[in-house]
């Protein structure tokens, strides 16, 4: 806990960077700046080239996918991989997979926002017997490996007849099982001054009203971070759908991609790349739209 509370926020004034101490001429300094930019760009190219290459390759005819190193397909340009890939199995297409993924991710976001903020309000702003123990319990589950839970959860959910439904993917979110988000919101709500709610209390407002009308509007940044990270995690999640969803009409996008892998036919790579690119789209879109919130969220909580 001490460790977590010591984590730096980004909202601190940045200091003037230190530069070795030695006095450099203007020329030298400019050269060094250029050198740093060159090195950073080189590192970025190496890191991101495969991604861009996949984007290019998704527009190539399958036969050319492997031999080409360059990015732009040029005359070979074709969108056939996308049309072919989208068709998937014919009776289920990527329309189904995307619809399923958006449904699951959407419900997960709603679930996490509601359940985690309710729990966080109690932990951060209310006094009740057992608070310390319960809070410690919540912290204790922060770093629990998910794998310890999967077998008994599977037994439980199959007792309920939930296998091959979205319920095992969604219901836990409505029960605040992602402790990270509870913790994130507790930390945030603690920073709100107590006086904010005192006057409302004196006016006789109940906790639900205080929660809904005063706290939640102020907690929008924390809610935003939670929503974005929940989306990304749920969208990328592979293990849980793999365990619970077993007919193609229920598949989420990652499972849809796996369909192309099973035959191991190299001819399917074009379509696979095209659909992989599309599967990354929403995450990258979210990232571009909410980049600031994301970076701030990582810096303050260590979420990935």
């Amino acid at each position: 806990m001490t460790l977590l509370s010591r984590l730096p926020g980004t909202a601190v004034p940045s200091r003037e960077p230190s530069r070795g101490g030695r006095a450099l001429t203007k020329e030298q300094r400019r050269f060094r700046k250029l050198l740093i930019h060159a090195l950073l760009c080189a590192a970025l190219v190496i890191m991101l080239y495969p991604l861009l290459w996949m984007l290019g390759a998704s527009f190539r005819p399958s036969a050319r996918t492997f031999t080409a190193v360059g990015l732009w397909p040029g005359d070979d340009f074709t969108t056939e991989n996308y049309t072919e890939g989208w068709r998937a199995l014919g009776f289920v297409t990527f329309t189904n997979f995307f619809a399923n993924s958006f449904l699951v991710a959407g419900l997960a976001i709603v679930g996490n926002l509601v359940s985690c903020s309710l729990a966080a309000y109690a932990f951060a702003r209310l006094r009740f017997p057992g608070r310390r123990i319960l809070f410690a319990l919540m912290l204790g589950t922060l770093m629990l490996p998910y794998h310890v839970l999967i077998i008994p959860q599977y037994v439980l959910f199959s007792e309920f007849g939930w296998v091959n439904t979205f319920l095992p993917l969604v219901v836990p979110k409505f029960l605040a099982t992602d402790a990270f988000y509870v913790f994130l919101m507790v930390q945030f709500l603690r920073t709100l001054p107590r006086e904010l709610t005192e006057s409302a209390k004196i006016d006789g407002a109940g906790h639900l009203r205080i929660f809904l009308q005063i706290i939640m509007p102020l907690a929008l940044p924390a809610l935003g971070t939670t929503a974005i990270f929940t989306f990304i995690h749920t969208w990328n999640d592979f293990l849980t759908p793999l365990i619970y969803l077993n007919t193609p009409d229920k598949y989420t996008v990652p499972l849809g991609l796996r369909l192309f892998l099973d035959p191991t036919g190299e001819s399917a790579y074009g379509a696979l790349f095209a659909m992989s690119i599309l599967s990354l789209g929403p995450v990258i879109g979210f990232f571009i739209a909410f980049q600031r919130t994301l970076v701030h969220g990582i810096a303050t909580t260590g979420l990935k």
Partner: protein
């Protein structure tokens, strides 16, 4: 936290009060409103906590205890009731299951190689970016992109191609006359492709390091400069100690994450963990035991060994941190 301590006692009083209504009417008259408020606050708190409590009991603690119980049983999916077999699952794991030991070996290699490398990259890049580079937000965002995508099936698919026999890497190496093998099909290379995949996602810890670096008071560097300290000494005696709490945090988070890596190994090996079990990550073998062989008892035992191993390693890091983590306000 200190405010909490009073409230259980407060509720005790409230209860005592209500069971003995006419004992001290005056004081009751005076004190009751506050106590009633305490009790109603506690009631509200538990109402707010209800979803979390249900989740805690049925989705988290119940299953933890459930898998502990199952780990001492032989239990197959859909196959009747669990049968108590004592420590047999654990005995089999360590003495009679070469695939299990292979999975432990691969996982330790993966964690041991990728976590330090990932942290080193994250720290180096954070320090470079902290030198007042122009365009910092853009660099930061672009370096973070892999962290965002690293766990996805799409990226694992890409990795399969890049490190395949006719993949991007070999096509590039061909320019230099080097003819590489299919890295994902060669047992000695395959796990390293996954190490590279993990190291590729250094962006998130980098952002945390960057935030940490910005909090180091610049006076420390100025004072060191006055004393004639060079770059290396400043790094060793200011940056590293000041950054050590963040380092501990990043190390623990990254380690726990690495132990749980699954998607990459699954996709690269088509779910088999091959070639020759060289990508059989612990989690992948656990998944196979549970959902390919339907051996729920054995898989639960594996899960508990993982839990204990992660807990021990985390505790070890915390304990060792007393020696190397520096908290500025401790005098």
């Amino acid at each position: 936290m200190s405010k909490v301590a009073g409230s259980p006692a407060g509720l005790e009083e409230a209860r005592a009060e209500s069971t003995a209504p006419s004992a001290r009417p005056m004081s009751r008259w005076v004190r009751r409103p506050r106590l009633r408020q305490d009790a109603s606050e506690a009631l509200s708190a538990y109402l707010f906590l209800t979803p979390w409590l249900i989740g805690m009991v049925f989705i988290t603690i119940g299953p933890i205890l459930g898998s502990l119980y199952l780990s001492f049983t032989s239990y197959s999916a859909g196959g009747g009731t669990p049968e108590w077999i004592g420590l047999d699952n654990f005995r089999r794991m360590f003495t009679d299951d070469p695939r299990y030991l292979a999975s432990v070996k691969v996982t330790l290699l993966y964690v041991g190689a990728s976590v330090p490398a990932l942290l080193a990259f994250a720290l180096i890049l954070a320090m470079v970016l902290n030198t007042g580079v122009r365009g910092l937000p853009i660099y930061r965002a672009l370096f973070y992109v892999p962290s965002l995508l690293g766990g996805s099936v799409a990226i694992a698919v890409l990795w399969r191609q890049v490190f395949g026999g006719e993949g991007l890497l070999n096509n590039v190496l061909a320019w230099f006359g080097i003819e590489g093998p299919s890295y994902i099909a060669t047992p000695q290379w395959a796990p390293w492709t996954l190490v590279v995949l993990n190291v590729w996602t250094f962006g998130a810890p980098m952002i945390i390091f960057l935030a940490g670096l910005r909090q180091i008071p610049s006076e420390l560097y100025d004072a060191a400069s006055v004393d004639g300290a060079g770059r290396v000494r400043k790094f060793l005696h200011i940056t590293l100690p000041q950054l050590s709490p963040v380092m501990l945090f990043n190390a623990i988070i990254t380690m726990i994450g690495a132990f749980q890596a699954f998607t990459g190994a699954y996709v690269i090996s088509n779910g088999t963990g091959g070639p020759v079990d060289s990508t059989l990550f612990y989690t992948l073998y656990l998944y196979q035991s549970g959902f390919s062989y339907y051996n729920f008892g054995y898989a639960s035992a594996m899960a508990w060994v993982l839990l204990v191993a992660i807990a021990l390693l985390t505790a070890l890091m915390f304990l060792s941190s007393r020696r190397w983590v520096f908290y500025g306000d401790e005098r």
